[in-house]
């Protein structure tokens, strides 16, 4: 039988580079130290592809319950745009000690959505930087001027 015990460390820097949030999702109600930093408990889960052969632009989602601290994450980062996430997955021993097996992925925030129970943060891999626009930009008033209120866009 093979058993898995994984903890994920969520190290999030807001888009303005001013605020950092650190959470872990395994040790319930505890603060855990990893790489000399303290991570509070938060019941999040991540899903999506973390790496591909071509290294391109895969979407990773991190789900939080829509609680006050999770909404603050989105608020502080303009809807999770251009934030930076370092997500470390670490294998634990049967005694819940850290093992040497781990991997770390650096991701860039591309947006978020939430409903009455769940908050979803969306990220893409930092390999997105090989694209023309770094980091990925969302179509908004800042880069397009005043936007129409209907779908009739005229490209000139």
């Amino acid at each position: 039988m093979s058993n898995l015990r994984l903890v994920q460390f969520f190290d999030y820097l807001t888009g303005d580079g001013l605020t950092r949030y650190r959470y872990q999702n395994y040790f319930v109600g505890q603060n855990k130290t990893y790489n000399s930093n303290s991570y509070a408990f938060a019941p999040f889960q991540s899903s999506g592809s973390l790496s591909t052969l071509t290294g391109d632009n895969e979407t990773v989602t991190v789900l939080f319950p829509a609680t006050e601290y999770a909404i603050r994450l989105v608020d502080a980062s303009g809807g999770n745009r251009q934030s930076e996430l370092t997500l470390t997955t670490l294998w634990l021993t049967a005694e819940n000690e850290y093992s040497s097996l781990q991997f770390t992925e650096t991701l860039i925030g591309i947006g978020s959505s939430f409903d009455d129970t769940t908050l979803e943060l969306r990220f893409r891999t930092a390999m997105d930087s090989v694209g023309a626009n770094f980091p990925t930009r969302t179509f908004n008033r800042d880069n397009a001027g005043i936007l129409p209120i209907n779908a009739e866009l005229s490209l000139r």
């Binding site: 039988m1 898995l4 015990r5 999702n25 040790f27 319930v28 109600g29 019941p43 819940n96």
Partner: protein
């Protein structure tokens, strides 16, 4: 935290310990892999029966249910609920680490005689951080 459960000794108790959050993957070869998602058990269950009690007891329990249900908060269980139980087992049930008790369903009340009822209470203990 909402107010403590009413201090009455039940005539019957049934307890199920919590489970760890584990997902099992079973391959077509029959090999089983398990993944655990947290280091604390949750979903403790406790059923209490207060048989043939005065209606004032039933009224207290219903009032407690109404108070706690609208607050969406857990509550403590007083020592009286564990009357006659050994201290080691009692400590495992009364206050598991990070667990708060709440109603799994509304209390069930059966009238058995004038001003006498039997009350069935179903509680669930869940992690609340």
């Amino acid at each position: 935290m909402a107010r403590t459960f009413p201090s009455y000794v039940p005539s019957a108790r049934s307890f199920t310990p919590g489970e760890y959050p584990v997902r099992t993957y079973r391959s077509q070869s029959g090999v089983v892999s398990k993944r655990i998602y947290g280091n604390k058990p949750t979903n403790y269950e406790l059923q209490l029966t207060f048989a043939n009690v005065d209606d004032s007891v039933a009224n207290d329990i219903v009032a407690h249910y109404e108070d706690t249900a609208k607050q969406l908060e857990g509550f403590n269980l007083p020592n009286e609920v564990f009357g006659g139980m050994g201290s080691g087992l009692k400590s495992k049930i009364q206050a598991p680490s990070n667990v708060t008790w709440s109603y799994a369903s509304p209390p069930q009340i059966k009238s058995v005689f004038i001003d006498v009822s039997t009350v069935e209470v179903s509680l669930i203990g869940e992690i609340n951080v």
